[in-house]
Symmetry: C2
Subunit: 210 residues, 2 copies
């Protein structure tokens, strides 16, 4: 596997969204410097990032072919391969994630949900069944679930994460704003809404001061 | 205002979660090196980050007081000041965000929602009214709304963002995976779930290869 940094990885979906929006507007090719300018990145960064995922070369006059770039980035990000996931905690946010259609384009397929609430167990959300949290092990195997999308209340997040690890899950996408202690054989990625909001509020303050 | 980088800003909510989890377990003080180790950061980074927000000094033996650190970070991130926000697009995710109790601790107060669907307009979600998107200007003023939480379908995100800017909104927290073209007087922060997922899947692949 080629070496890629976390910061690079974060940028590819941003390139992808931008390229998709260009294609939508009927644009068929673009140069690296133009991408750099639109996304406030350095030209060198963009050139290096795109070289890593795409074998096609930009032409001096017209730039890079957008269709090819889109396909290369989707391939690189694994969007063309399907990974099965389950939502852990079928509250408001959990249900919204089970209903969200957009994950399909990232190659993420939510197959079911898990909860401890007996009024939820056995029901369906967006045609996906909600199982008891105590049937984790068997269902993870049965449905070949690789990713657990954690959306429990804060208080139970660590305990449920431990259950997930014991049940054989390999990756946790953590939407709960808590620090999880997990052994480092498991991939954990935190969705830091608080960090995102902190940046927004900081920028809001700065623009107000200008 | 002191200079702070985006990367630094991202780290403060992570420190905060970690410190809150320590306090929960009864710990009352901690050293910078211990924080660095737990969160896989460099000691120098942690020392610099904490110095920027906190005037209290760590003691050589016991380290820094956790209550003070928590309070200093909350203060710095503006969590003690309330900012009014509105959810734009009251679909599954929009409703989940309106129901989410966790934003209060970040100082974010969702006061209402907006939609174009006449079957939603006039209803309430978690006791917050849903207004017509066409009443944006008057409601933004009436409720002193600073932040728009954008959760529309992809297809209409740019058009609605333009409406928000025209209606006088100062900050957009964008949950829609599209690139928005917005004038740079408006603070825009994208919630890149796709980037977060890309990192998770990359780590999952790497751990599988180990």
């Amino acid at each position: 596997m080629e070496k890629v940094s976390i910061r690079q990885l974060e940028r590819y979906p941003i390139y992808l969204n931008y390229l998709l929006s260009l294609r939508e507007s009927g644009v068929s090719s673009i140069s690296s410097p133009a991408i750099a300018k639109a996304l406030s990145l350095s030209e060198e960064q963009v050139r290096k990032d795109l070289q890593l995922v795409s074998r096609s070369e930009g032409k001096p006059k017209s730039g890079r072919n957008i269709d090819e770039l889109i396909s290369d980035i989707q391939e690189f990000l694994g969007y063309k391969k399907v990974t099965n996931a389950a939502v852990i905690g079928v509250g408001h946010l959990g249900q919204a994630l089970m209903n969200y259609k957009g994950f399909a384009e990232f190659g993420l397929n939510i197959v079911c949900g898990f909860d401890v609430d007996s009024s939820l167990i056995g029901t369906k959300v967006n045609n996906k069944e909600v199982f008891s949290l105590y049937s984790l092990s068997s269902k993870i195997e049965q449905f070949d679930i690789k990713v657990a999308i954690l959306v429990t209340p804060k208080e139970s997040a660590q305990e449920v994460a431990n259950m997930l690890v014991n049940a054989g899950i390999k990756a946790i996408w953590n939407f709960v704003p808590v620090h999880l202690n997990i052994n480092d054989k498991i991939a954990v990625e935190n969705v830091n809404l608080a960090s995102s909001l902190a940046i927004l509020e900081h920028n809001l303050k700065q623009k107000g001061d200008e």
